[in-house]
C-alpha cells in the first residue's frame, strides 16, 4: 500500500460519498486469508475505547459537543502520522445504504449506523486501522489483521493511540483507568477478539465441551446458530470479558492462549471427523457445493452455512481447493448493502437472495 497514485486518489476525492466510492474498489486487507492459522482463525481484532476530557459521552452530549469531538479528532489525525492516506467519512452525509455498507466492512457499528448525527469514521485505505467517532464512546480505535495476529493488531492500534493521545486530552483516572460510557469497558478500554471458524467442533457437537474447558478464563464466546440446523457459519467470536485490573499484555496473552487451544482442538476434531465420520463430512460438503451450484435463492445466513461447509471441504482436500481469500471475501461482499451497491439499485429480500445466488456461483466458479 502507499503508492503515489493511491495518495492522489485519496486526496483528489473529498467528501464522504467519494470516500465510500474509494472503498468500494478496495476490499479490506484483513480478508486476504493470510497470517498464521488462517485456516481456522479468520481475523484478529484489537479495539480501544477512549473519551475526551470535559465533554459528555456521545449518548448524553448535545450536538455542539458531538461536533467538537469530530473536529478535535479530525485535527489530531491530520497532525499525526498515525493514519496516512486516511479516508474521512461523515456518517450524516451518507445514505442508509452506504452506512450499512460501512457496517458490513466493520468500519462502523450497528449503533452508529442508526445514529449517524455528528458521527464519523477515519480509516486507512487497507481498512486495517480505523477510528470511529461518537459511537458509544468518543473514540473507538480498531486494528484488524487476518489470521492469528493479535500482537500485530495490538502494535498497530497502540501506535495510533499513542499518537492521538499526544494531541487529545483523554478522560483518565488513576483509580479507574480510561473512562468509558459503559462500565464493562472501563480500565484498559481494550477488547481483543478472534473470529474462529470451528466447523468440525460444531459438527461433532463439541463446541460446548470446548467452551467448558475455558470456563473461568475471563473470555466471552459468542456464536450464532439457527434452530434445527447445526452448521450456520460456525464462526465464533472469542474475546476478553474483562478490561479493568488487567494489564493490556496480560489480556493479549490470555486471548492468544485460548486461540491456540481452540486451533488445536479444531485441528484434532477435523482429523477425527475425517476418520470417524467420512460419509457425513463428504455428504455435508458436496451438498453445500450442490446448493451453491443450483440454488436460485440464497439468504445471507444460508450462504454462511454453505461457505462454512465448502471451506472445510476445500481445507480437507475433499473439493478442488478454493482460494481462502475468495471465501473470506464473500463473507463481506455477499452481504445486502454490498450486493445492492454492486447491482447499482435497491433490492428487496427476494431480489437480493436471487442476485446473491447468481453472484456467488460466478465468484467461486463452482
Amino acid at each position: 500500500m502507499g503508492s503515489d497514485e493511491e495518495d492522489k486518489e485519496a486526496q483528489a476525492r473529498t467528501g464522504a460519498n467519494a470516500a465510500v466510492a474509494v472503498l468500494e474498489g478496495r476490499l479490506c486487507a484483513w480478508l486476504d486469508g493470510s497470517g498464521p492459522e488462517a485456516d481456522i482463525i479468520i481475523t484478529s481484532r484489537v479495539r480501544l475505547a477512549r473519551n475526551l476530557q470535559g465533554l459528555r459521552f456521545p449518548g448524553a452530549a448535545p450536538a455542539e459537543e458531538r461536533e467538537s469531538v469530530c473536529s478535535q479528532v479530525a485535527a489530531a489525525i491530520a497532525a499525526s502520522r498515525a493514519l496516512p492516506q486516511s479516508l474521512h467519512l461523515r456518517l450524516d452525509e451518507l445514505s442508509a445504504l452506504d452506512r450499512r455498507f460501512l457496517m458490513e466492512r466493520r468500519l462502523v457499528s450497528p449503533q452508529s449506523a442508526e445514529r449517524p448525527e455528528h458521527a464519523a469514521v477515519f480509516a486507512d485505505l487497507a481498512q486495517t486501522l480505523a477510528v470511529m467517532v461518537n459511537e458509544e464512546d468518543h473514540l473507538r480505535l480498531q486494528a484488524i489483521a487476518s489470521g492469528l495476529q493479535i500482537e500485530e493488531a495490538w502494535e498497530a492500534v497502540r501506535t495510533l493511540d499513542d499518537e492521538l493521545g499526544e494531541r487529545l486530552d483523554y478522560a483518565f483516572s488513576e483509580q479507574f483507568g480510561y473512562l468509558t460510557a459503559c462500565p464493562t469497558n472501563t480500565g484498559t478500554g481494550m477488547r481483543v477478539s478472534i473470529f474462529a471458524h470451528l466447523p468440525a467442533l460444531a459438527l461433532l457437537e463439541e463446541v460446548d465441551k470446548a467452551l467448558k474447558e475455558f470456563a473461568g478464563s475471563e473470555i466471552t464466546v459468542r456464536g450464532f446458530y439457527g434452530e434445527g440446523s447445526r452448521v450456520q457459519g460456525n464462526i465464533f467470536q472469542i474475546s476478553n470479558q474483562l478490561t479493568l485490573g488487567r494489564a493490556e499484555k496480560a489480556i493479549i496473552k490470555r486471548v492468544r492462549g485460548i486461540a491456540e487451544r481452540v486451533v488445536a482442538l479444531e485441528r484434532e476434531a477435523r482429523a477425527r471427523l475425517l476418520h470417524q465420520r467420512p460419509l457425513r463430512v463428504r455428504d455435508l460438503v458436496y451438498r453445500a457445493r450442490a446448493l451453491l451450484q443450483h440454488a436460485q435463492l440464497i439468504s445471507s445466513l444460508e450462504l454462511m452455512n454453505l461457505l462454512s461447509a465448502v471451506r472445510v471441504g476445500s481445507e480437507l482436500g475433499l473439493l478442488p481447493p478454493i482460494p481462502r481469500r475468495r471465501l473470506n471475501e464473500l463473507l463481506v461482499i455477499a452481504l445486502p448493502a454490498h450486493l445492492q451497491k454492486r447491482a447499482g439499485k435497491e433490492m428487496d429480500n427476494e431480489e437480493r437472495d436471487a442476485y446473491r445466488a447468481q453472484f456467488v456461483r460466478e465468484y467461486l466458479g463452482v
Binding site: A60, Q111, F176, P183, Q241, T243, L244, A247, P336
Partner: protein, 174 residues
C-alpha cells in the same frame, strides 16, 4: 414455537448464545430483528447483553451500605443514578466521581477488580509508569489475608512480569 425475545411477535429462527464463565445467556431472535441488530452479518457486532447485566448489577445487588444515598445527579452531564440504572451507561467522565462509591462496587462485580493497572495516556506517563513492586507485594499479602485468591493470583503474575521486564532492561535488552 419460540417467540422472538426482542419483538415478542415473530417466531424465533436464531439462537444467540453467550457464555461467560459457566453462565449461558440465550437470546431467541426472529429474522427481522436479527437483521436489524446486524446479526445477519457474519462479523457484525452482536447486541450487548452486558447492558442488561449491568442493570442487574445495579439496583438490587448493590448492598445498601455501598450505595450512594438519595437521588444523585451528575453535575457534569445531568444524568441521575436512576438513568444510569436504567440504561447501564454513564453520561460523562465526571460520573465516575459522582457515582464513585456505587461504581467501585459495580466495577468490582463486573471485573473482579476496581483498580486500573494498565497503560496510561502519554501525557501522564513518567515516574508513575513503573508501578511500585513493593506496594504490589503489600497488596498481594492483603489479598491473601482476605482470601481473595483470584486477585492474589493476578497480583502475583503482575509482579513476576514486572520483575522479568526489569531484569531484562538491566541487561540492556528490550
Amino acid at each position: 414455537m419460540i417467540v422472538c425475545d426482542l419483538c415478542g411477535v415473530n417466531p424465533a429462527t436464531l439462537k444467540l448464545t453467550q457464555v461467560i464463565n459457566d453462565e449461558h445467556t440465550e437470546l431467541h431472535l426472529c429474522k427481522q430483528c436479527a437483521e436489524e441488530k446486524g446479526l445477519g452479518i457474519p462479523f457484525g457486532a452482536l447486541p450487548s447483553t452486558f447492558g442488561a447485566m449491568i442493570v442487574g448489577f445495579l439496583g438490587a445487588q448493590v448492598p445498601t451500605s455501598a450505595r450512594t444515598v438519595g437521588s444523585l445527579k451528575c453535575a457534569g452531564c445531568g444524568i441521575t443514578k436512576e438513568d444510569f440504572e436504567r440504561t447501564g451507561l454513564l453520561g460523562c467522565a465526571q460520573c465516575y466521581e459522582t457515582f464513585r462509591e456505587d461504581l467501585k462496587f459495580i466495577l468490582r462485580r463486573i471485573h473482579g477488580s476496581n483498580k486500573h493497572i494498565g497503560m496510561r495516556p502519554p501525557s501522564l506517563r513518567g515516574a508513575m509508569e513503573h508501578p511500585d513492586i513493593e506496594q504490589l507485594r503489600r497488596q498481594l499479602q492483603e489479598a491473601v489475608a482476605k482470601e481473595e485468591f483470584e486477585e492474589a493470583a493476578r497480583l502475583r503474575d503482575l509482579i513476576t512480569d514486572l520483575e522479568t521486564q526489569r531484569g531484562r532492561s538491566k541487561h540492556g535488552e528490550r
